[in-house]
């Protein structure tokens, strides 16, 4: 159609103006993409911080294990399970980054005169180190057979230090009093008050022995995924995996940490609100630019009118111009934005300059903010900018077309 070609050619008649406008749209869009990406990145970072401390993204338990954490409700119940197999099978899944088995018990830890109740967690030091950020990897590597790691406040209460001897006494699964001596391999400062007050880590086999549990009996398998946002889908996929024992339940962090789920909903909502405002603002800005551009061309419109071009045709030409401007601008913007996203999603922004002196907890938190693609928001922003561009061309042009041709021709350049 002629209006299309006309529209396109019009663009290049005043290339300076067109290029400025295209550059404007492009940069605005690119920055908006970055903004959106960082916004989602922040929410994802919160998700990671909330789950990667210890919970992981997906967990496998016996169906009846939660919420009471009954000692006897092990994975696979009476028969137990070949959890080494299960872990190997899970690791083959390309979505899975790390897997850690765990055993939980409750008992008394004592230096003799100083005793305290403790939550004892049995872990595989290597596997746990890959998954949990609660305890440093090198701290975990100190978990040799017969070693125990104590929470900082617990150690303080027991007046225990590294190298000291600790007795652990539990109500074992067979009714006897499980009791053994351990050496304090290290003190753990998790930063979470209730954990520091009561947690003790030891090797899985040590705890199983203490609790008189068979080696095939564990309570929990925690899984870390490549993409934590897709945890619910991954958990469904995993639950259909072969080799899983009877009666297990596979849950994602959404179900395991409903509070975190709500918090992310809140953060996501606040984020959406802010991004909405930013997109509106950016659209408004582009609208302004376009209006400036179009008003400059009132004379042009007058001339076309005087030459007898139908108003409808004039408008259509302008619309197509705007259409092309938007197309070129958004495409360029997308390219630029993608480049920015590449950098931001790989390297991110290091926020640690603002951190200064932090409590232990926050050192467990990644200080680098990485951007994450949020396609819905990007598409919404693109649409919004497109509409703004076209509307900005349409409105003034429409007004101008109505004006008497002669008046338009007479209009001074300065408006």
């Amino acid at each position: 159609m002629i209006v299309v070609r006309l529209g396109w050619r019009n663009l290049w008649r005043n290339s300076r103006r067109s290029l400025i406008t295209i550059a404007g749209i492009a940069c605005a869009f690119a920055f908006t993409i970055a903004f959106i990406g960082l916004g989602k990145g922040m929410v994802v970072q919160m998700l990671k911080n909330g789950t990667e401390l210890m919970v992981g993204h997906v967990q496998i338990h016996d169906r009846d294990y939660l919420p009471d954490r009954d000692l006897y409700e092990t994975i696979g119940n009476q028969e137990g399970c070949d959890w080494h197999q299960v872990i190997a099978g899970l690791k083959q899944n390309q979505d899975v980054v790390a897997v850690a088995p765990r055993v939980f018990g409750f008992g008394l830890v004592s230096t003799g005169e100083q005793s305290a109740g403790a939550q004892i967690i049995g872990v595989d030091p290597d596997l746990e180190g890959n998954l949990s950020r609660l305890v440093d990897r090198d701290m975990l590597s100190r978990l040799r057979p017969g070693s125990v790691l104590l929470g900082a406040t617990l150690a303080l209460e027991l007046r225990a230090r590294e190298g000291n001897e600790i007795a652990a006494v539990t109500q074992a699964a067979d009714g006897t009093l499980g009791n053994e001596l351990f050496r304090v391999g290290g003190i753990v400062k998790t930063g979470l008050a209730y954990l520091d007050r009561s947690v003790a880590f030891m090797r899985i086999d040590d705890l199983q022995r203490l609790l008189a549990l068979e080696p095939s009996h564990i309570h929990e398998i925690a899984i870390k995924l490549r993409d934590p946002v897709r945890a619910p889908e991954s958990s469904r996929f995993i639950s259909r995996m072969s080799g899983l024992p009877e009666g297990v339940s596979v849950q994602s962090w959404r179900q395991l940490l409903p509070q975190l789920n709500d918090y992310l909903g809140l953060a996501g909502g606040a984020n959406a609100f802010i991004i909405g405002l930013v997109v509106v603002f950016v659209s408004f800005g582009i609208l302004n630019t376009m209006m400036m551009a179009t008003f400059e061309r009132i004379r042009e419109i007058g001339m076309l009118n005087a030459f007898g071009m139908r108003p409808g045709l004039i408008l259509s030409t302008f619309l197509f111009e705007a259409f092309f401007l938007a197309l070129l601008g958004l495409t360029a913007g997308f390219g630029l934005g993608a480049l920015m996203m590449r950098y931001l999603s790989l390297y991110g922004l290091d926020l640690s300059r603002w951190m200064g002196q932090l409590s232990m907890l926050q050192t467990r938190v990644e200080p680098i903010l990485k951007a994450v693609w949020n396609w819905e928001a990007v598409v919404a922003a693109a649409i919004s900018l497109w509409v703004a561009t076209v509307a900005a061309a349409y409105l003034p042009a429409r007004k101008a077309v109505k004006v008497d041709a002669v008046e338009a021709l007479r209009a001074p350049v300065m408006q």
Partner: protein
């Protein structure tokens, strides 16, 4: 001598607690006397007994839970109302595991690791030796008299047996969790038949039943006591007395951390 203080003393006799059973169970021939006269006699006897009363015994404890059932043989020494020493003699695996209670404090000795461990406040409500008794139960028994008011709720025949039913109500501000405790005692020989523990809402929380009344070292005692929690049907802890001796001369040093470890 008021009825209350008589009941008071009687209560000291037939308290519930595995260790209490060893103390001052009154027996002996009771002639047809007025209840007041009988009471006086009982009280006198009890007073003599309780002053510096000591006992040594062997007990077979069986604990049944939903997942397992275990029997251990215990040897128990006690002195007055404040000192108790319990040692496991069988099975071989647990032999030597001991508990010492002196006043408010409890220590456990674990022979496998050869360590003495104090039981902290936070574990007072934890099960003692895997049974349905708590560490706190060990400590509480000396306080029954102090913490409860006693009245006779019922006097008459139940299932053909003449009994008293004593109602123990906690004194105001007494730090006990029970709403009330009811004892059923045989009138003829003052043997306890059962004890029921209720929450403040009137709901039955746990109960103890006594049976196999035998004479040991000249006294009539209920040799078998079974404790059942109401919220875990099918579970119970049973204490069966094999031997019991009273008024022995127990050396003070027995109730010490040192002897806790020893043979």
């Amino acid at each position: 001598m008021g009825i209350n203080s008589m009941m008071d003393r009687l209560m000291r006799i037939s308290r519930l607690s595995i260790f209490v059973i060893l103390l001052g169970i009154v027996t002996g021939p009771l002639f047809a006397q007025t209840s007041q006269q009988r009471a006086k006699e009982i009280i006198d006897r009890v007073d003599r007994m309780l002053r510096g009363d000591s006992s040594v015994g062997r007990v077979e404890m069986t604990v049944a839970t939903r997942q397992w059932k275990r029997t251990t043989e215990l040897r128990i020494w006690s002195e007055g109302t404040e000192k108790v020493l319990v040692r496991i003699e069988a099975p071989k695996k647990d032999q030597g595991t001991s508990t010492l209670r002196v006043g408010d404090n409890i220590w456990n000795y674990l022979p496998k690791i050869d360590r003495v461990i104090r039981v902290p406040t936070s574990m007072m409500m934890a099960a003692w030796m895997g049974s349905h008794f708590t560490n706190d139960d060990l400590v509480q028994e000396s306080r029954l008299a102090r913490d409860y008011d006693v009245t006779i709720e019922f006097e008459g025949a139940r299932e053909g047996v003449e009994v008293y039913e004593f109602l123990l109500m906690p004194r105001p501000q007494a730090p006990v969790v029970w709403g009330k405790i009811v004892y059923q005692i045989r009138k003829s020989d003052l043997m306890p038949i059962w004890a029921r523990f209720y929450g403040e809402d009137g709901e039955l929380k746990r109960r103890a039943t006594f049976s196999e009344y035998q004479v040991m070292d000249g006294r009539l005692v209920p040799a078998l006591m079974r404790m059942t929690p109401e919220d875990k049907p099918g579970e119970y802890t049973e204490m069966k007395y094999r031997e019991l001796e009273f008024d022995l001369k127990i050396p003070e040093s027995l109730f010490s951390l040192k002897s806790l470890r020893g043979s």
